[in-house]
Amino acid sequence: MTRSRELMLLHDQELSAEEALDIEASLSDEERELLAGLEQVGDFVRAADQEKVDAFSGVADSVMAAIEADTARAAEPPGLRMPKLEAANDQVPVRARRNSNVVWVGVGLAAAAAAAVWISTPAREPPAPLPVAAPVATPVPSATAPEPAPELAAEATEDDGAPAASIEAVDFGNQPGSIFMVPAGEETTPVVWLVDEPAAGRIEPL
């Protein structure tokens, strides 16, 4: 054991009486001054920390008091405990109420979203009837005949001035063809142009 450790044990009074007497007998003046200084530092620390120690002991007392109070409540008859439980329930449902509020807010948002989707969805319109006849638009056929349209109907409306014969239905079969109108004086004449094979009906550049 070192000398400094013996001095500390002596200061803390952790040595036996015999050991303490031996060490005290062998103390030099310098060691006695060191022990005196340690005593002074200890006094200072204890004085400065007293308030915290008191406060700590106050918390411990309040905890113990609360435990004792709970114990006392548990010992009371049920009839007397009911109001206290209700009072306790007043504390507990706060969180439940918060959860309930969250749910209702969510439901409200969902309802608003559903309403928005419902409103933004375009109303279903009654299906438009398929056109039965397509009016012939251009009197000049293209050099490349369009795709053959089975049962394609082309009808010139009689409101277009001079009524003409009208193509009501045509099936070009496997070869392409086109329908157009050619002016003929005051009237127009419908033309069905077939593209034949192998020497296809050629339309020279106009």
Partner: protein, 177 residues
């Protein structure tokens, strides 16, 4: 935790409501497209003039042989308009009168195909009628399977484009009495 689960599930449930409600108004099957007029509709009222009606079929041969338009063709302004004007020569090959009836009437074309015409219907005004035409290949293949035309007496329509001897055939149909 339960509250969170509800928060997630509730929007899904509510969003599904419109869809569920919409099922009642689910897009109904599109109605079948209007059927075209029955080409085989029978004209119960058999007009007395039906037997007098006929289709005059004028067969022209269009080429670029420099011969000009055959004088027998008569006045046919369509031949001077595009695309017919791309041919400088038109020769009259035949002029055939096919009586209009509800039975098929046929004629042979110069290219060996067979033209078939048929009266479909005489309109109530007795002036317009619907006729059908088709052109068949020599070996049974159909070249022009179907053509239905509504025309008035005196009006004409043209079927052109069949290749024939370095040119094309131009069939001019005219309803005549």
């Amino acid at each position: 935790m339960r509250a969170r689960a509800l928060f997630l599930v509730a929007p899904l449930l509510l969003l599904s409501l419109p869809a569920a409600a919409g099922d009642d108004n689910a897009p109904q099957k599109a109605p079948a497209p209007a059927k075209p007029k029955d080409p085989k509709a029978k004209d119960d009222k058999k007009p007395a003039a039906e037997s007098e009606l006929a289709t005059e079929v004028i067969v022209l041969h269009a080429t670029n042989s420099g011969k000009g338009i055959d004088s027998r063709i008569g006045n046919m302004p369509e031949l001077k308009k595009p695309p017919f004007s791309s041919y400088d020569s038109y020769e009259l090959l035949s002029k055939t009168r096919l009586p209009l009836s509800k039975d098929d009437k046929t004629m042979n074309l110069p290219n060996g195909r067979v033209l078939k015409t048929k009266l479909l219907e005489v309109m109530p005004d007795k002036e317009h009628l619907r006729i059908s035409a088709s052109i068949n290949q020599p070996r049974g293949k159909t070249f022009l399977p179907l053509l239905e035309v509504k025309a008035k007496v005196g009006q004409s329509f043209i079927v052109a484009g069949q290749s024939y001897r370095r040119g094309i055939l131009v069939l001019v149909f005219r309803v005549v009495k």
